[in-house]
């Protein structure tokens, strides 16, 4: 009783909603997670993601959550999966080197359909690379880093306010579809501070996982339904729930029967495909009559915004699609704009990981140009503007 009361008092004291702060992207991400209902964080510090852990370490106890610093990134994601299986919304945050270590458990989360959010604040790589410089080199790793044919959702953020709102979205999608969601940030977004008013709790839409409504003895943890997402019982409340990384049947036990394996694998993809309408998020800027469309994501989208505005002021019909969802790749939005425009430019801080996707869906509709920078510096608006002018 006393513990509950003091918890209540702590919450009142630390009510941040509705107040304006100068927040770092990383700090906004932590606040977004808490607003989305995250109550468990396990992580291992790494530049440029440490501020997420730091803020979680004192914010989570204030809302009766749990923070733990693990011995490395492998165990961090392991702890997160365990907490999520126990019914608590969970998250970890890291950068490239740690994200590489997390790949094995990321696959485990996919296979066991355990909701969790993994933040990767991208820095220069490979290996230790450039700890304090931005890059976007982990895009395809986020999609394909763990082995096996698997569905995963990858989102990207470009501003402090998105760090908050997209983290909430990441939790919602993760809980709704029982799939790990990777949020890609980068050093520029993570360390930039902007004024941000934390929204009031009633203005934030929060989705929770669906729990079984059948008696425990009827419960089959991996049984198919119309959505392809089975209800998930928190461990320890009487519902039998066997969890394994092996291919499993509807009861969760290992199977080698092709019919069961095929049904399981197909369901994994079907549940994501069914949700394309809400998973594939893009933002558009002056695309209605655009002849040249810039496709950008992360901090580069901020440069692109300015470049497009510069081009418009010079009378060039330019537009921007900002990809918030990178995977599943928002093909329909991109293809629709490809039908109307003369050329597409894809600026990225890698050698062309999303431009590869753009070219894949192009099928001769338009010209696709890539613009790459891999020197650890953010692409400037002027560079993109010059690319627009060249066409």
């Amino acid at each position: 009783m006393n513990a509950i009361q003091t918890g209540e008092k702590r919450r009142m004291k630390h009510e941040l909603n509705g107040k304006k702060f100068l927040l770092q992207g990383n700090e906004a991400m932590a606040e977004g997670a808490i607003a989305a209902g995250c109550r468990f964080f396990a992580g291992y510090p790494i530049t440029p993601a440490s501020e997420i852990s730091e803020r979680m370490s004192y914010r989570l106890p204030q809302v009766d959550g749990t923070f733990i610093q693990m011995e490395d990134e492998i165990s961090s994601l392991g702890a997160v999966i365990g907490a999520s299986l126990a019914g608590v919304k969970s998250m970890t945050a890291t950068s490239g080197p740690g994200f590489s270590l997390m790949q094995e458990n990321l696959g485990y989360a996919c296979m066991t359909e355990t909701p969790c959010v993994v933040v990767n604040v991208m820095r220069g790589g490979p290996s230790t690379g450039l700890p304090t410089s931005p890059a976007q080199g982990d895009v395809l790793q986020a999609r394909w880093g763990t082995h096996g044919d698997h569905p995963v959702i990858v989102l990207s953020v470009s501003s402090v306010s998105e760090c908050f709102s997209i983290t909430v979205t990441a939790f919602n999608l993760s809980e709704k579809y029982r799939v790990p969601v990777v949020v890609l940030s980068d050093e520029v977004v993570a360390h930039s501070r902007e004024t941000f008013t934390i929204p009031t709790a009633d203005s934030i839409e929060v989705a929770d996982r669906i729990v079984p409504n059948v008696p425990p003895e009827w419960y089959k943890p991996y049984e198919d339904n119309s959505r392809g997402v089975p209800p998930m019982a928190p461990m320890g409340d009487g519902y039998r729930h066997h969890v394994t990384g092996l291919a499993h049947d509807a009861r969760g036990f290992p199977t080698e029967r092709p019919d069961e394996i095929e049904a399981f694998s197909n369901r994994q993809f079907r549940k994501i495909t069914n949700g394309f309408f809400e998973i594939q998020i893009t933002k558009k800027l002056t695309v209605e009559d655009a002849e040249i469309v810039v496709i950008a994501y992360g901090s580069v989208a901020r440069s692109a915004r300015r470049a497009v505005a510069m081009a418009r002021s010079q009378g060039i019909k330019a537009g921007l699609i900002q990809l918030v969802t990178l995977f599943p790749f928002p093909k329909n939005t991109v293809v629709n704009l490809m039908r109307q425009c003369k050329a597409v430019i894809v600026p990225e801080m890698n050698m062309g990981q999303i431009s590869r996707e753009v070219k894949r869906v192009n099928t001769g509709l338009t010209e696709v140009y890539k613009y790459n920078r891999i020197d650890g510096k953010l692409i400037t608006p002027m560079e993109i503007f010059e690319e627009i002018q060249k066409i």
Binding site: K20, F21, L22, T47, P131, T132, S133, S159, V188, H191, S192, R193, E194, T195, S299, R302, S303, R305, R306, A309, L378, T380, P381, M382
Partner: protein
């Protein structure tokens, strides 16, 4: 005051408190004056030493590109950072340097003030040189009032250091007040060229 982009860059050596000064500046403009602000930084992997820069963009509108494009003001707290980061100036941009640590400047619109020496005199420590410089920077910045800068400083620094930091800030204001800006050329482009 309606402003499209007002850009300030602070630079120096890692450990001089450059980023803290930038945060206080951004909070004064963003929270206390109500502008949109974006504060970014770049530094090396070392905890002390090395070059460090922080930028603050202040605008009446949503800020698209978060980093500086053309500088209105810059602070250099040592020679290395002055050499490395003094670029992208507006013709009427103003450079502030610590006269004890910077000898050569690439612009004639430069204000030499002994920030570190002043810090030592008013507080007995070099530690608050960044706040002295912040005071001067805030004094010359047309978007900030001294009152709001002081309020932002008080809200940010640890309570037990408020007194010493306020003292340093006031010393910065005073040093800037005593400097005659009219003694500098109005623009680094000669007036006859500016017409074209």
């Amino acid at each position: 005051m309606d402003v499209d982009r007002f850009e300030i860059r602070l630079s120096g050596s890692g450990g001089q408190g450059i980023i803290l000064a930038a945060i206080i500046l951004a909070e004064a403009a963003g929270i206390f004056e109500g502008y949109h602000v974006s504060q970014t930084q770049s530094y090396g992997p070392e905890a002390r030493g090395g070059r460090c820069k922080a930028e603050v963009v202040i605008s009446s509108r949503q800020i698209d590109y978060p980093k500086a494009v053309q500088l209105d003001m810059m602070l250099a707290m040592n020679q290395a950072s002055c050499d490395a980061y003094c670029f992208d100036f507006k013709p009427n941009g103003l450079l502030l340097v610590d006269s004890g640590l910077v000898e050569q400047v690439p612009t004639s619109r430069a204000v030499f003030l002994p920030f570190t020496k002043i810090a030592r005199e008013v507080a007995g420590k070099d530690l608050v040189a960044n706040i002295v410089a912040l005071g001067a920077l805030g004094y010359f910045c047309p978007l900030l009032t001294n009152k709001n800068l002081e309020a932002a400083l008080t809200a940010r620094v640890p309570p037990e250091t408020v007194k010493i930091n306020s003292k340093a800030l006031q010393a910065g204001f005073k040093a800037a007040e005593e400097f005659d800006l009219n003694s500098l050329p109005r623009s680094i482009i000669p007036e006859e060229e500016e017409e074209i």
